[in-house]
Protein backbone atom coordinates (compact mmCIF):
# COMPACT_ATOMS: atom_id res chain seq x y z
CA UNK A 1 0.00 0.00 0.00
CA UNK A 2 1.38 3.39 -0.95
CA UNK A 3 1.45 6.52 1.15
CA UNK A 4 0.35 8.40 -2.02
CA UNK A 5 -3.06 6.78 -1.72
CA UNK A 6 -5.15 9.66 -0.38
CA UNK A 7 -8.52 8.09 -0.95
CA UNK A 8 -8.57 5.16 1.36
CA UNK A 9 -5.58 3.52 2.98
CA UNK A 10 -7.17 0.12 2.40
CA UNK A 11 -7.33 0.54 -1.39
CA UNK A 12 -4.03 -0.42 -3.07
CA UNK A 13 -2.60 2.24 -5.37
CA UNK A 14 -2.95 0.03 -8.41
CA UNK A 15 -6.76 0.37 -8.10
CA UNK A 16 -6.88 4.16 -7.62
CA UNK A 17 -8.18 4.76 -11.16
CA UNK A 18 -11.12 2.50 -10.37
CA UNK A 19 -12.19 4.85 -7.61
CA UNK A 20 -14.96 7.21 -8.55
CA UNK A 21 -16.70 4.65 -10.70
CA UNK A 22 -16.34 2.33 -7.73
CA UNK A 23 -16.38 3.48 -4.13
CA UNK A 24 -13.46 2.45 -1.91
CA UNK A 25 -15.85 0.11 -0.10
CA UNK A 26 -16.94 -1.47 -3.39
CA UNK A 27 -13.32 -1.91 -4.45
CA UNK A 28 -12.56 -3.67 -1.20
CA UNK A 29 -15.60 -5.87 -1.69
CA UNK A 30 -14.38 -6.85 -5.17
CA UNK A 31 -10.99 -7.70 -3.69
CA UNK A 32 -12.78 -10.16 -1.45
CA UNK A 33 -14.82 -11.78 -4.23
CA UNK A 34 -14.26 -15.01 -6.15
CA UNK A 35 -15.25 -15.70 -9.77
CA UNK A 36 -15.13 -19.04 -11.58
CA UNK A 37 -14.44 -18.65 -15.32
CA UNK A 38 -15.29 -21.71 -17.40
CA UNK A 39 -13.51 -21.54 -20.75
CA UNK A 40 -10.34 -19.51 -21.33
CA UNK A 41 -10.62 -18.92 -25.09
CA UNK A 42 -11.97 -15.84 -26.86
CA UNK A 43 -14.34 -14.78 -24.10
CA UNK A 44 -12.56 -16.19 -21.07
CA UNK A 45 -9.20 -14.61 -21.90
CA UNK A 46 -10.63 -11.09 -22.03
CA UNK A 47 -12.87 -11.78 -19.03
CA UNK A 48 -10.05 -12.78 -16.68
CA UNK A 49 -7.94 -9.85 -17.90
CA UNK A 50 -10.63 -7.36 -16.90
CA UNK A 51 -11.58 -9.17 -13.70
CA UNK A 52 -7.92 -9.13 -12.62
CA UNK A 53 -7.35 -5.48 -13.54
CA UNK A 54 -10.55 -4.54 -11.72
CA UNK A 55 -9.23 -6.24 -8.63
CA UNK A 56 -11.44 -9.29 -8.19
CA UNK A 57 -9.42 -11.03 -5.51
CA UNK A 58 -9.81 -14.65 -6.51
CA UNK A 59 -10.31 -16.12 -9.97
CA UNK A 60 -10.48 -19.79 -10.85
CA UNK A 61 -10.00 -20.48 -14.56
CA UNK A 62 -10.95 -23.80 -16.12
CA UNK A 63 -10.13 -25.03 -19.61
CA UNK A 64 -9.03 -28.44 -20.79
CA UNK A 65 -7.69 -27.22 -24.14
CA UNK A 66 -4.37 -26.13 -25.57
CA UNK A 67 -3.91 -23.28 -28.06
CA UNK A 68 -3.92 -23.85 -31.79
CA UNK A 69 -3.34 -21.51 -34.71
CA UNK A 70 -7.05 -20.80 -35.26
CA UNK A 71 -7.16 -19.17 -31.79
CA UNK A 72 -4.71 -16.41 -32.74
CA UNK A 73 -7.34 -14.25 -34.48
CA UNK A 74 -9.17 -13.42 -31.24
CA UNK A 75 -7.95 -15.13 -28.09
CA UNK A 76 -6.02 -12.67 -25.92
CA UNK A 77 -4.04 -15.40 -24.20
CA UNK A 78 -2.90 -17.05 -27.43
CA UNK A 79 0.49 -16.18 -28.91
CA UNK A 80 2.63 -17.67 -31.63
CA UNK A 81 4.96 -18.79 -28.87
CA UNK A 82 2.42 -20.78 -26.85
CA UNK A 83 0.67 -22.86 -29.53
CA UNK A 84 0.17 -26.37 -28.18
CA UNK A 85 0.37 -25.08 -24.59
CA UNK A 86 -2.38 -25.16 -21.95
CA UNK A 87 -4.83 -22.24 -21.96
CA UNK A 88 -5.16 -22.39 -18.18
CA UNK A 89 -1.37 -22.28 -17.84
CA UNK A 90 -1.16 -19.24 -20.13
CA UNK A 91 -3.87 -17.54 -18.06
CA UNK A 92 -1.91 -18.12 -14.85
CA UNK A 93 1.26 -16.66 -16.38
CA UNK A 94 -0.50 -13.58 -17.75
CA UNK A 95 -2.35 -12.80 -14.52
CA UNK A 96 0.87 -13.19 -12.56
CA UNK A 97 2.41 -10.54 -14.81
CA UNK A 98 -0.46 -8.05 -14.71
CA UNK A 99 -1.74 -8.48 -11.14
CA UNK A 100 0.08 -10.79 -8.74
CA UNK A 101 -2.36 -9.75 -6.00
CA UNK A 102 -5.01 -11.93 -7.63
CA UNK A 103 -5.15 -15.47 -6.35
CA UNK A 104 -5.58 -17.35 -9.61
CA UNK A 105 -6.24 -21.08 -9.67
CA UNK A 106 -5.62 -22.65 -13.09
CA UNK A 107 -7.39 -25.92 -13.83
CA UNK A 108 -6.53 -27.78 -17.02
CA UNK A 109 -9.50 -30.14 -17.09
CA UNK A 110 -13.14 -30.35 -18.05
CA UNK A 111 -15.30 -28.23 -15.69
CA UNK A 112 -17.38 -31.32 -14.93
CA UNK A 113 -14.64 -32.68 -12.76
CA UNK A 114 -15.44 -29.87 -10.27
CA UNK A 115 -17.71 -30.82 -7.41
CA UNK A 116 -20.79 -28.84 -6.44
CA UNK A 117 -19.02 -27.50 -3.37
CA UNK A 118 -16.16 -26.14 -5.45
CA UNK A 119 -18.68 -24.26 -7.61
CA UNK A 120 -20.51 -23.00 -4.53
CA UNK A 121 -17.25 -21.61 -3.17
CA UNK A 122 -17.24 -19.11 -6.04
CA UNK A 123 -19.66 -16.20 -5.87
CA UNK A 124 -20.37 -16.28 -9.58
CA UNK A 125 -19.72 -18.43 -12.66
CA UNK A 126 -18.75 -17.07 -16.10
CA UNK A 127 -19.94 -19.25 -18.98
CA UNK A 128 -17.25 -18.66 -21.61
CA UNK A 129 -17.73 -22.02 -23.30
CA UNK A 130 -18.05 -22.55 -27.05
CA UNK A 131 -20.71 -25.19 -27.56
CA UNK A 132 -24.31 -25.76 -26.56
CA UNK A 133 -24.15 -29.22 -24.92
CA UNK A 134 -21.41 -28.05 -22.53
CA UNK A 135 -23.32 -24.85 -21.77
CA UNK A 136 -26.43 -26.88 -20.95
CA UNK A 137 -24.40 -29.13 -18.62
CA UNK A 138 -22.89 -26.11 -16.90
CA UNK A 139 -26.35 -24.59 -16.43
CA UNK A 140 -27.60 -27.78 -14.74
CA UNK A 141 -24.53 -27.87 -12.53
CA UNK A 142 -24.91 -24.25 -11.45
CA UNK A 143 -28.64 -24.67 -10.82
CA UNK A 144 -27.78 -27.57 -8.52
CA UNK A 145 -25.11 -25.46 -6.81
CA UNK A 146 -27.45 -22.44 -6.55
CA UNK A 147 -24.91 -20.16 -8.25
CA UNK A 148 -25.70 -17.46 -10.82
CA UNK A 149 -24.18 -17.69 -14.31
CA UNK A 150 -23.05 -14.75 -16.39
CA UNK A 151 -23.29 -16.13 -19.91
CA UNK A 152 -21.68 -14.89 -23.08
CA UNK A 153 -21.75 -16.19 -26.65
CA UNK A 154 -20.68 -14.78 -29.99
CA UNK A 155 -21.04 -15.31 -33.73
CA UNK A 156 -19.44 -12.99 -36.26
CA UNK A 157 -20.35 -9.37 -35.46
CA UNK A 158 -23.07 -10.38 -32.98
CA UNK A 159 -23.02 -11.41 -29.38
CA UNK A 160 -25.26 -12.02 -26.44
CA UNK A 161 -24.87 -11.88 -22.72
CA UNK A 162 -27.26 -13.18 -20.10
CA UNK A 163 -27.41 -13.00 -16.35
CA UNK A 164 -28.95 -16.29 -15.31
CA UNK A 165 -30.04 -16.66 -11.69
CA UNK A 166 -29.99 -20.32 -10.63
CA UNK A 167 -33.76 -20.86 -10.59
CA UNK A 168 -34.44 -19.01 -13.85
CA UNK A 169 -33.51 -21.89 -16.21
CA UNK A 170 -32.66 -19.08 -18.62
CA UNK A 171 -29.84 -20.87 -20.42
CA UNK A 172 -32.00 -23.94 -20.97
CA UNK A 173 -34.67 -21.66 -22.44
CA UNK A 174 -32.21 -19.80 -24.67
CA UNK A 175 -31.02 -23.06 -26.18
CA UNK A 176 -34.36 -24.91 -26.01
CA UNK A 177 -34.74 -25.04 -29.80
CA UNK A 178 -31.09 -25.64 -30.64
CA UNK A 179 -30.85 -28.86 -32.61
CA UNK A 180 -27.10 -28.63 -33.29
CA UNK A 181 -24.16 -28.37 -30.88
CA UNK A 182 -23.04 -25.02 -32.28
CA UNK A 183 -24.83 -21.91 -33.46
CA UNK A 184 -24.52 -19.21 -36.09
CA UNK A 185 -20.73 -19.01 -35.51
CA UNK A 186 -20.29 -22.06 -37.71
CA UNK A 187 -21.13 -19.75 -40.64
CA UNK A 188 -20.09 -16.38 -39.22
CA UNK A 189 -16.84 -17.23 -37.46
CA UNK A 190 -15.74 -15.37 -34.33
CA UNK A 191 -14.22 -11.88 -34.46
CA UNK A 192 -11.85 -10.41 -31.91
CA UNK A 193 -13.90 -7.22 -31.39
CA UNK A 194 -17.01 -9.25 -30.67
CA UNK A 195 -15.15 -11.47 -28.21
CA UNK A 196 -13.60 -8.49 -26.41
CA UNK A 197 -16.86 -6.52 -26.22
CA UNK A 198 -18.91 -9.50 -25.08
CA UNK A 199 -16.41 -10.50 -22.41
CA UNK A 200 -16.31 -6.99 -21.05
CA UNK A 201 -20.10 -6.68 -21.06
CA UNK A 202 -20.10 -9.91 -19.03
CA UNK A 203 -17.66 -8.34 -16.56
CA UNK A 204 -19.78 -5.18 -16.37
CA UNK A 205 -22.86 -7.31 -15.70
CA UNK A 206 -20.99 -9.25 -13.02
CA UNK A 207 -19.87 -6.27 -10.93
CA UNK A 208 -23.28 -5.46 -9.40
CA UNK A 209 -23.78 -9.12 -8.58
CA UNK A 210 -20.41 -9.31 -6.84
CA UNK A 211 -21.31 -6.14 -4.94
CA UNK A 212 -24.72 -7.51 -3.92
CA UNK A 213 -26.57 -4.89 -5.98
CA UNK A 214 -29.51 -5.20 -8.42
CA UNK A 215 -28.43 -6.79 -11.71
CA UNK A 216 -30.10 -6.97 -15.09
CA UNK A 217 -31.12 -10.59 -15.27
CA UNK A 218 -32.17 -11.57 -18.77
CA UNK A 219 -30.78 -11.97 -22.26
CA UNK A 220 -29.23 -9.03 -24.07
CA UNK A 221 -28.13 -8.96 -27.72
CA UNK A 222 -25.87 -6.65 -29.64
CA UNK A 223 -24.73 -6.28 -33.24
CA UNK A 224 -21.45 -4.41 -33.67
CA UNK A 225 -21.97 -3.92 -37.41
CA UNK A 226 -25.21 -2.00 -36.84
CA UNK A 227 -24.19 -0.42 -33.50
CA UNK A 228 -27.37 -1.97 -32.11
CA UNK A 229 -28.02 -3.34 -28.67
CA UNK A 230 -31.19 -4.51 -27.02
CA UNK A 231 -32.83 -6.77 -24.53
CA UNK A 232 -35.00 -9.50 -25.87
CA UNK A 233 -35.68 -11.65 -22.95
CA UNK A 234 -36.23 -10.66 -19.34
CA UNK A 235 -36.25 -12.85 -16.29
CA UNK A 236 -39.49 -12.01 -14.51
CA UNK A 237 -39.42 -11.07 -10.88
CA UNK A 238 -40.06 -14.06 -8.68
CA UNK A 239 -38.49 -16.50 -11.14
CA UNK A 240 -35.29 -16.89 -9.20
CA UNK A 241 -34.20 -13.33 -9.87
CA UNK A 242 -32.86 -12.43 -6.49
CA UNK A 243 -31.25 -9.29 -7.87
CA UNK A 244 -34.15 -7.39 -9.39
Amino acid sequence: MSSKNRINPLVPRRYLRNIGALSPGEQIKLMGSHVLVIGLGGLGGYAIESLARLGVGRITGVDRDVFDETNLNRQLLSETGNLGKSKAGAARQRLRRINPNVVFTAITADFEFMGIEAIQNCGLVFDCLDNIPARRRLARRCAEAGVTIVHGAIAGWCGQIAVCPPKSQLLEKIYAEAKRPRGEEIKSGNLVMTAAVTANLMVAAAIPILLGQPAKAGLHFFDLRDWAMGTSYHVPKGLGNQFA
Binding site: Q160, Y175, A176, R182, F221, Y233
Partner: protein, 74 residues
Protein backbone atom coordinates in the same frame (compact mmCIF):
# COMPACT_ATOMS: atom_id res chain seq x y z
CA UNK B 1 -54.03 -8.99 -36.08
CA UNK B 2 -50.69 -7.14 -36.18
CA UNK B 3 -47.50 -8.53 -34.65
CA UNK B 4 -44.40 -6.37 -34.26
CA UNK B 5 -41.47 -8.52 -35.38
CA UNK B 6 -37.87 -7.71 -34.41
CA UNK B 7 -34.99 -9.63 -35.98
CA UNK B 8 -31.45 -10.04 -34.63
CA UNK B 9 -28.11 -10.62 -36.38
CA UNK B 10 -27.99 -12.64 -39.58
CA UNK B 11 -31.78 -12.79 -39.79
CA UNK B 12 -31.81 -9.08 -40.76
CA UNK B 13 -29.93 -9.39 -44.09
CA UNK B 14 -31.58 -12.74 -44.69
CA UNK B 15 -35.11 -11.32 -44.46
CA UNK B 16 -34.32 -7.74 -45.44
CA UNK B 17 -35.70 -5.92 -42.41
CA UNK B 18 -34.83 -5.42 -38.76
CA UNK B 19 -38.27 -4.53 -37.41
CA UNK B 20 -41.73 -4.31 -38.91
CA UNK B 21 -45.40 -5.00 -38.22
CA UNK B 22 -46.62 -8.25 -39.78
CA UNK B 23 -50.33 -8.87 -40.36
CA UNK B 24 -51.42 -12.44 -39.53
CA UNK B 25 -54.77 -14.21 -39.11
CA UNK B 26 -55.98 -15.33 -35.69
CA UNK B 27 -55.30 -17.82 -34.23
CA UNK B 28 -51.58 -17.74 -34.95
CA UNK B 29 -48.63 -19.12 -33.00
CA UNK B 30 -44.99 -18.05 -32.71
CA UNK B 31 -44.09 -21.14 -34.73
CA UNK B 32 -46.57 -20.13 -37.45
CA UNK B 33 -44.95 -16.69 -37.53
CA UNK B 34 -41.44 -18.13 -37.84
CA UNK B 35 -42.62 -20.41 -40.66
CA UNK B 36 -44.32 -17.46 -42.41
CA UNK B 37 -40.98 -15.61 -42.29
CA UNK B 38 -39.08 -18.61 -43.65
CA UNK B 39 -37.43 -19.36 -40.31
CA UNK B 40 -39.43 -22.46 -39.46
CA UNK B 41 -36.58 -24.95 -39.72
CA UNK B 42 -33.86 -22.62 -38.43
CA UNK B 43 -32.43 -22.87 -34.91
CA UNK B 44 -33.55 -19.74 -33.10
CA UNK B 45 -34.53 -18.01 -29.86
CA UNK B 46 -38.01 -16.47 -29.77
CA UNK B 47 -39.30 -14.06 -27.18
CA UNK B 48 -42.69 -12.42 -26.89
CA UNK B 49 -42.99 -9.14 -25.01
CA UNK B 50 -39.67 -9.82 -23.30
CA UNK B 51 -40.34 -13.41 -22.27
CA UNK B 52 -38.91 -16.51 -23.87
CA UNK B 53 -41.52 -18.66 -25.55
CA UNK B 54 -41.83 -21.97 -27.36
CA UNK B 55 -43.03 -22.27 -30.94
CA UNK B 56 -46.53 -23.33 -29.92
CA UNK B 57 -47.17 -20.11 -27.99
CA UNK B 58 -50.29 -18.31 -29.28
CA UNK B 59 -49.90 -14.69 -30.34
CA UNK B 60 -52.32 -11.82 -29.91
CA UNK B 61 -52.73 -8.46 -31.57
CA UNK B 62 -49.96 -6.03 -30.60
CA UNK B 63 -47.45 -8.63 -29.39
CA UNK B 64 -43.78 -7.80 -29.93
CA UNK B 65 -41.84 -10.88 -31.03
CA UNK B 66 -38.03 -10.97 -31.17
CA UNK B 67 -36.41 -13.73 -33.21
CA UNK B 68 -32.67 -14.26 -32.83
CA UNK B 69 -30.25 -16.83 -34.22
CA UNK B 70 -28.51 -19.18 -31.82
CA UNK B 71 -25.10 -17.88 -30.78
CA UNK B 72 -22.69 -20.19 -29.00
CA UNK B 73 -19.16 -19.19 -29.99
CA UNK B 74 -16.57 -18.35 -27.39
Amino acid sequence: MKIQVVLIGQFIPRLGFSEKAVKVPAPFTAGDLAARLGLGEVDKVISKNGQGIAGGEPLKDGDRVVIAPIFSGG
